[in-house]
Assembly symmetry: C2
Homo-oligomer: 310 residues x 2
């Protein structure tokens, strides 16, 4: 097939006719927002993780898989700077999976649930008949924080500073199974200054930044030398490409006015690094200034779910 996940998402968004009163945020952000009553709303996200695609049970434990499944959705809560509320988990078990395996999976789920105060409140357990892969699907609820509205992808403005948390690339080696979703940090950032656009880095910086650009009708200019490259990415043959294009960093990508960025830097007292990597531009494309001084176009090269290619 030729359609990318973004093209399909855009098609789904076009098909939906969501009333803004009932659904202030619809398809296309990290979570959708659903009005429950006057002044009360929840946000919801879902992620499916598959053996052989998002983890490999030959090397990962079921505890790690349970943790990752929860942490990926918690990262969506962080992406919009919302407060996690509860999760439900559906699992498809291969033949031979039973009580022991479920309890091991549950231990990982509970580790994330306890750490982020986001309990498991329900689920569904099913066995494949005659087929073998293990799949786990999480749906998670959050609510807006008291201090700020959920932060969307579409608010980036020309001149904004583009920032990321932590360091990027090489997640497939270790981090993708044990990352910390940036829930607390996102709430602190968006609760302290005005953030214009934010998301979590799940499919690679170049792919995810392109999403903010497209939804904000803007472009971006980033500086290669500014990108925080992880130690695991530095062990690869092309560390910059790893930091630009590899998925599952689960760090925050956000844009904000220069004054807000300066204010945030002054107040920031967390261990987690915040790094300015570029600026939002009044163009329709992304560029990157390389270390040799050349500026070249940056294209989304991250993981494309629909083709399964990196």
């Amino acid at each position: 097939m030729s359609a990318t996940e973004d093209e399909m998402t855009a098609w789904f968004r076009g098909q939906s006719r969501l009333s803004p009163d009932r659904f202030p945020i619809g398809i296309g952000d990290d979570m959708a927002q659903v009005t429950v009553a006057a002044g009360a709303s929840v946000l919801i996200t879902t992620d499916m993780l598959l053996d052989g695609t998002h983890f490999d049970l030959q090397t990962a434990t079921l505890g790690q898989v349970g943790y990752k499944a929860m942490a990926a959705s918690l990262s969506d809560c962080a992406a919009m700077a919302t407060v996690p509320l509860a999760a439900v988990v559906a699992v498809a078990l291969p033949p031979g999976f039973g009580e022991v395996e479920l309890k091991e999976l549950h231990a990982g789920i509970a580790r994330a649930a306890d750490r982020y105060d986001c309990p498991l409140v329900g689920g569904d357990i099913t066995c494949w008949k005659g087929k073998t892969p293990f799949a786990v699907s999480v749906a998670m609820l959050s609510k807006p924080a008291a201090t700020h509205a959920p932060v969307r992808r579409n608010g980036a403005k020309a001149g904004d500073v583009i920032c990321v948390t932590g360091s990027l690339g090489g997640s497939g080696r270790r981090k993708h199974l044990e990352f910390e979703p940036r829930v607390r940090e996102a709430l602190k950032i968006a609760g302290s200054v005005t953030v214009n656009a934010m998301m979590d880095l799940s499919d690679g910086l170049s792919t995810d930044l392109n999403r903010i650009c497209k939804q904000s009708r803007a472009g971006a200019l980033i500086e290669a030398s500014s990108i925080p490259i992880s130690a695991d990415a530095r062990m690869q043959s092309d560390p910059l490409a790893a930091a630009l294009h590899e998925g599952e960093d689960f760090e925050l990508l956000f844009t904000l006015g220069r004054d807000q960025w300066e204010a945030l830097r002054r107040l920031w007292d967390e261990e987690l690094a915040l790094t300015e990597i570029g600026i939002v531009t009044a163009t329709d494309h992304m560029e990157i200034k390389m270390s040799d001084g050349r500026t070249v176009e940056l294209k989304p090269g991250g993981y494309e779910h629909l083709t399964g290619e990196e």
Copy 2:
């Protein structure tokens, strides 16, 4: 493995330490209830459907699968007599699935979403790498109706009348792909009279009635001749066994006081049949009075998800 789904659910419930203020209804009902703000709450459920287990893509269309995935969760909303709000859908695509298949699936999802005013607000699309089955997972939100609290499984009282909607058994032939979740009828029933316990019939009458009995610390006596047996079940060698034990009826099973049942019968003007099939007893087991006058113990014989056997 030896643990049943019910045993695992009980174990998960035991592990959860949910604050009743934040989670008025936790693990073990058709949906969990999450407090969002003072006086505002949502309910959430999730279901995963697997090719070869819940449907067979050699005979079912993707439109039917999309409809069924939504309808199964809508049936959970009906089971607690709550108002559907929104759904998110995660899909795992086998190699070869693309835009055409996704759009066909979406058409079925949209058919259910439109019919029950429960829009699709988000999702996740992933491709299996080198593995082939198709899986779809739905998470759905609902809210309590204005007229009544969500109806749980644990409120059945000795002396209650046990009722079902529609007719039972033989769903695997046709109905499981095209059933109507009883959302409207459940809201009408629970909005008109006091219902003590309710759920939807997903795993077969004997299995699901046992769940109400166990959670209500009660027993049941049902009358074989009263059970409404579907036309498709009547074509089988043992129609009564089909109506008792086969899954995916997606009808309502509920209990209520005799006076409430009489009141409900008087006001009921819907096409859908309501049938009294027995009474709740002050025992710890289920019995069935057969047409020859004998009364025998009824054991849960429905589909057990964890073993994959019928």
